[in-house]
Symmetry: C2
Subunit: 346 residues, 2 copies
DNA sequence: CCAACATATTAAATCCGTTTAATAAGGTGA
DNA sequence: TCACCTTATTAAACGGATTTAATATGTTGG
């Protein structure tokens, strides 16, 4: 009936999630530390930790060092009580990773691509993994597709998955909270969450990628993934940049072009694309994959884009590891689900 | 000490604001209607309305029509208890509007531009208006400048206002809650809030404007104004669109150009700019001023942009009245402040 | 016109987190 | 070792919204 201003259920869940993530981030903490870090009163922290302890979520406690008076109890979270499962659905294969709350990988492997097969392979893989690791309590799936709240909106080449609500499918089949995310979006999220504390002011980031299947990008604004009204946002290959070419065409091959007699459009094209982002979104940073670029190229891009945009409004040029960020992203999405589960839930 | 999960002060303020805005939107309502519209319990609604009635915020009540049982009391808000003041700081002049909570204009007028003068003129104008209308309880100011939380970050040509914290200045001088906003941003906000209920899913909109001082745009994403990391977002004139020209240059004059022998770049340039927005942000709509465009041009743009972006991912092409939207925007910003004031505030 | 019913309002009980007070536990110096 | 100090934890009182019960005020049909 409620749900708007002060839903007690929701408050409870937030407190719980915050306690768990604070304990994981800090490694260990006292009740007082948690209380003022989270802005929740001491008695409340105490009550929740009591429940968590009873549920076996906390590791055997040590005593804190003295600071002049009575020594406080220290608590730390047992990262093994729940496991997460991340699935990477790629064109050539499907890979998976099982990890605990601290992000440590407990199991991993590959399987034939389920994209080229069908959904039963997917189900079988999850069933086997859940059977092997009954502690799994959340699932995240990365896909090279446009996703709308768990539904695969647009997935080129793989007709059998078109318009499938993968989230609903998983949740009802395995009774596990599930999140589906586009690969580029998962990567920006991963890059972001691996280095920013939850409390900081949220940056805007663009992850740029030039795959063999055409370029793509993931955009995060103030900590939120940007999807667009028809899930088209970030489709940078369509951006018109030259009299004759859009970004995709300019990249497809180094077109010979009267204006660029050396024949290499690609540096200028990317610089222009970054200029577009700067003039439209003005993000804090633009990220490129280390596998597709290096410091030298970055410097060239930085110089070239200053021809279009005043330096002080250009984003930071960042090199990162796409595979790693993608992995972190899916882990983070699972972790979010895990930490939000009800106490003693299963 | 608190402020994070359940700050009672904040809860109180939200309830109050929601009650006021619901009463204004609905015209009148019963306690039961308010209760389930806002998701706040009946007793709480009852308590708040009691206080508001005592404070004179409610208009004399009528009885509701019967629906088979006891007839309920109807309440409606007295829009005259507070007035708002909106100031439009433009290059050529400064204009102002005084209005009540229902948006009805109570007073309006012009004065010499304060931008070309200095801040004392500004203060004098407000002082006079507040003196004339003591009911004024919130101020909003629209400026052709980049604004960071009330501070004028970048205001070309008017050095004396550079880096001035106008919000702090007003609030301490007049003891009135104040909001400062960039003109384009106020316009998108105005367009949006004049036709969307607070509860609906929030659209993404781009307001495009081609002034004599160069083009600009205001961007709203999911109901939030987009500002950018260095307050540069929406500076569309920098967007590179052609081998030789960025958007600003292409618009500056109808350049003769080998690719466009008819010499009219401007339609294509705007179509390209819209394509850029579609591929990057994928907004629901792009809005143009009726004073700068008409249905014919809109149709041309719509056709031209399909050369760059598949039709289904293009935004809606919208014609609107910029002056009107700007006005609504500033009114809305003031109204927000007014409705958030403490009960019996003054 | 009155019994039976429907809906509105008011009052009491409850829930949950916070604030404040009381108690426990460990340090320190004479 | 014992007062005394500092800090941790537990217990009680409080605040504010919600849920549930009780009461008030209408309507309707015989």
């Amino acid at each position: 009936m409620n749900g708007s201003i002060a839903d007690p259920k929701a408050v409870r869940r937030t407190i719980l999630r915050n306690l768990r993530s604070a304990l994981l981030e800090l490694g260990s903490a006292t009740k007082a530390e948690l209380s003022d870090r989270l802005g929740v009163s001491f008695p409340t922290v105490s009550k929740f930790l009591g429940q968590m302890e009873k549920a076996g979520e906390l590791l055997p406690v040590q005593l804190d060092d003295s600071s002049g008076g009575r020594r406080a109890n220290r608590y730390s979270y047992n990262p093994e009580v729940m496991l997460g499962l991340a699935l990477f659905l790629e064109r050539t294969e499907t890979s998976y990773i099982v990890f605990n709350c601290a992000g440590e990988v407990k199991d991993q492997g590959h399987a034939a691509s389920v994209l080229t097969a069908d959904i039963t392979d997917f189900d079988a893989l999850i069933a086997a993994l859940v059977n092997k690791h009954p502690q799994i309590s959340a699932v995240s799936v990365g896909v090279p597709a446009a996703v709308n709240n768990g539904r695969l909106i647009y997935i080129p080449e793989y007709e059998q998955f078109h318009d499938l609500d993968l989230k609903a499918h998983c949740e009802q089949r395995f009774q596990l909270p599930t999140v589906i995310e586009n690969d580029m979006n998962a990567a920006v999220y991963g890059y972001y969450m691996a280095r920013h504390q939850r409390s900081e002011l949220q940056p805007s980031l663009v992850y740029l990628y030039f795959g063999q299947n055409g370029p793509g990008s993931g955009i995060m604004l103030d900590g939120n993934i940007m999807r667009g009204s028809s899930f088209f946002s970030g489709e940078v290959s369509f951006v018109p940049l030259y009299d004759q070419y859009n970004f995709g065409e300019a990249m497809r091959a180094s077109h010979p072009h009267p204006r660029f007699p050396d024949g290499d459009l690609s540096v200028d094209a990317v610089a222009r694309l970054i200029a577009v982002f700067a003039a439209v979104l003005n993000p804090h940073g633009v990220i490129l994959s280390r596998h597709e670029a290096n410091e030298g190229l970055l410097a060239q891009l930085e110089a070239a884009s200053q021809a279009y945009i005043p330096r002080e409004h250009l984003p930071a040029f960042i090199l990162s590891d796409w595979e790693q960020d993608y992995l972190y992203g899916l882990q983070g999405l699972s972790l979010d689900l895990m930490l939000s589960r009800e106490a003693g839930g299963n």
